[in-house]
Amino acid sequence: MFPVRVFGLTKDFPQGFWRPRPHRAVDGLSFDIPEGGVFGLLGPNGAGKSTTLKLLLDLLRPTTGHAEILGRPAGDVEARQRLGFLPENPTFYDHLTAEELLEYFAGLFGYRGEDRRARASAALDRVGLGADRRRPLRQYSKGMVQRVGLAQAIVNDPALVILDEPMSGLDPIGRRDVREMILALRDEGRTVLFSSHILSDAEQLCSRVGILAKGRLVAEGTIGELTRHTGGTDVTASNVPSAFVDRVAARVRKTSRIADGRYRFELPAGERPEPFIADLAAAGAVLVSVAPVGASLEEAFMHALGTDRDGRADSPGPEGAGLPDDPRAGLQGERQDPDGASRSDRP
């Protein structure tokens, strides 16, 4: 069973007032998410991640195509009964306490009386807000509001949890807590779908990922499948004759000229470095360094987006996606600021 099934989902937003023209935010998206495990929907800002999630929740209506949630059409009330959702940068009601909010939402799921109170209380305890449950939400920090958002997403004991940028705006401790919670939800047998542009989080959490660019799914699979073609060896040499560079062009993934006669060659994962080094020596070049490059989701991501590690245009991704205008915009690898919030996918 697939808790989420997407069939050719397309969403156009009209742009302009007098003669509105469609802007395609999601373009013919099709994928299935298997039961259990964590599925990461990745992509740079404006790739269509949030739009896709909102289409799954019936907050937006598709231009064409359709989606199924837990075997029911997207937006079906029965499906939402078993669904938990955390929106990006959630905001709730300032006049309520966390406990009142959770009890209100638990009531909408049909829980009554003591059961309702117990569920609200358990969800708040689980996100570490048990002691602050009676404080008005207006006094909460951003991290605490995010935790309340997580609590309301699990108050109904959902089979499917959808989290839109769950790490957005959290400090490192908050991010670690959310990561642990996502893994705990997975261990309980729930399916978790989350969108993110923080690749290190996805790498640690996801059993499968889908990479979006300009509204199109440009890659989808397990982390292992996506990173299979990444990694390899960096070989740097000086006094390299230009004829040698031309001769090995087919064997290397990329050649970077550092200075006159000094080049860095990126050998693909399947290419052994020894023969290449021997050829370098035979051509009269001087070996400077040899460094293995580990397989990484970031590289797979860049490859899928048609961009190399330096942000230059690369060969297209596995499904032949076009190059986005600025595919690195908003992308956060491990070395980048984890607190940057993404802007809405809405044009």
Partner: protein, 272 residues
């Protein structure tokens, strides 16, 4: 389950308004005005009870109008602005139940306020009655704490419930609270003069087409002035039961139709 979800949303709206300082500011100001009418009444010998009733009912209606318009136009648009709607609509809450719950929540707020202010007015009139000399009582058109004041308050409540539906419709329709405010006030003012608009051709010399268009507007907009029985109650004039019944039915049916229209509009909305 349907009724329960609607009741939950309505109770949440009521709770939100009860904790809203704006509501207390309006209610406090209204109570102050009702109390001030005692002073005004003392300046006009023999007319004090009439003035207190007249002013009291006017204040109840005015404060109710302020509450309805200012709270009503933000009923849905505020949820959209602060994006709490995203979390809410991801719950098993159909959109029509959300709208009906929102409507009933504000109506409950308004009814409680009208009831509280009417009770304050009746207590004050009862006090005047207790203090008055028999000769003073003889000059009154009706008893001081006239139970018919409750009828006037009921008609005000129905009028406000209808206006709440109008405000809700514009709140569900427009993303801008300011635009909703302008539309709601516009419809209210037009509705107050609806009976005059219907007779536009008789009052003003105008081309036939203009007269017909204006008369049509008079028939289409809610006839808010029909709910005004303040003068009859204050002066002890009869108000036929059939009139009260028909006007009440008109208000309820019209409000229901506008809420249905709000549901239709809101069901088509998308949330980015």
């Amino acid at each position: 389950m349907t009724a329960r979800r609607i009741a939950l949303v309505a109770w949440h709206v009521f709770k939100e308004h009860v904790r809203d300082r704006v509501l207390y500011a309006i209610a406090g100001f209204a109570l102050l005005l009702v109390a001030a009418s005692i002073l005004l009444g003392q300046l006009t010998a023999g007319e004090d009870v009439k003035i207190i009733k007249d002013l009291g009912l006017a204040v109840i209606e005015g404060a109710g109008l302020l509450m309805t318009i200012f709270l009503g136009v933000g009923l849905v648009s505020r949820e959209i602005d602060r994006r709490s709607i995203i979390s809410l609509l991801a719950k098993p809450l159909p959109r029509w139940q959300f709208i009906v719950g929102k409507y009933l929540g504000l109506v409950l707020t308004i009814v409680v306020n009208v009831a509280a202010m009417t009770a304050a007015l009746l207590v004050m009139l009862k006090y005047l009655d207790w203090r008055a000399l028999p000769v003073e009582r003889a000059a009154w058109d009706a008893v001081a704490a006239d139970p018919r004041l409750l009828l006037a308050a009921l008609m005000i409540a129905i009028e406000l419930a209808l206006l709440t539906a109008v405000a809700l419709f514009f709140s569900a329709f427009s993303s801008s609270a300011l635009l909703s405010l302008a539309f709601t006030i516009g419809i209210y003012v037009t509705g107050v003069f609806s009976l005059d608009l219907r007779r536009f051709g008789d009052i003003v010399e105008a081309p036939s087409l203009v007269s017909h268009v204006v008369a049509a507007i008079g028939w289409i907009v809610p006839a808010f002035s029909a709910f005004d029985i303040k003068a009859q109650v204050v002066h002890g004039l009869p108000v036929p039961a059939s009139y009260l019944l028909l006007t009440s039915c008109y208000g309820v049916v019209y409000a229901a139709a506008v809420v249905v229209a709000a549901i239709v509009v809101f069901s088509r909305r998308e949330f980015t």
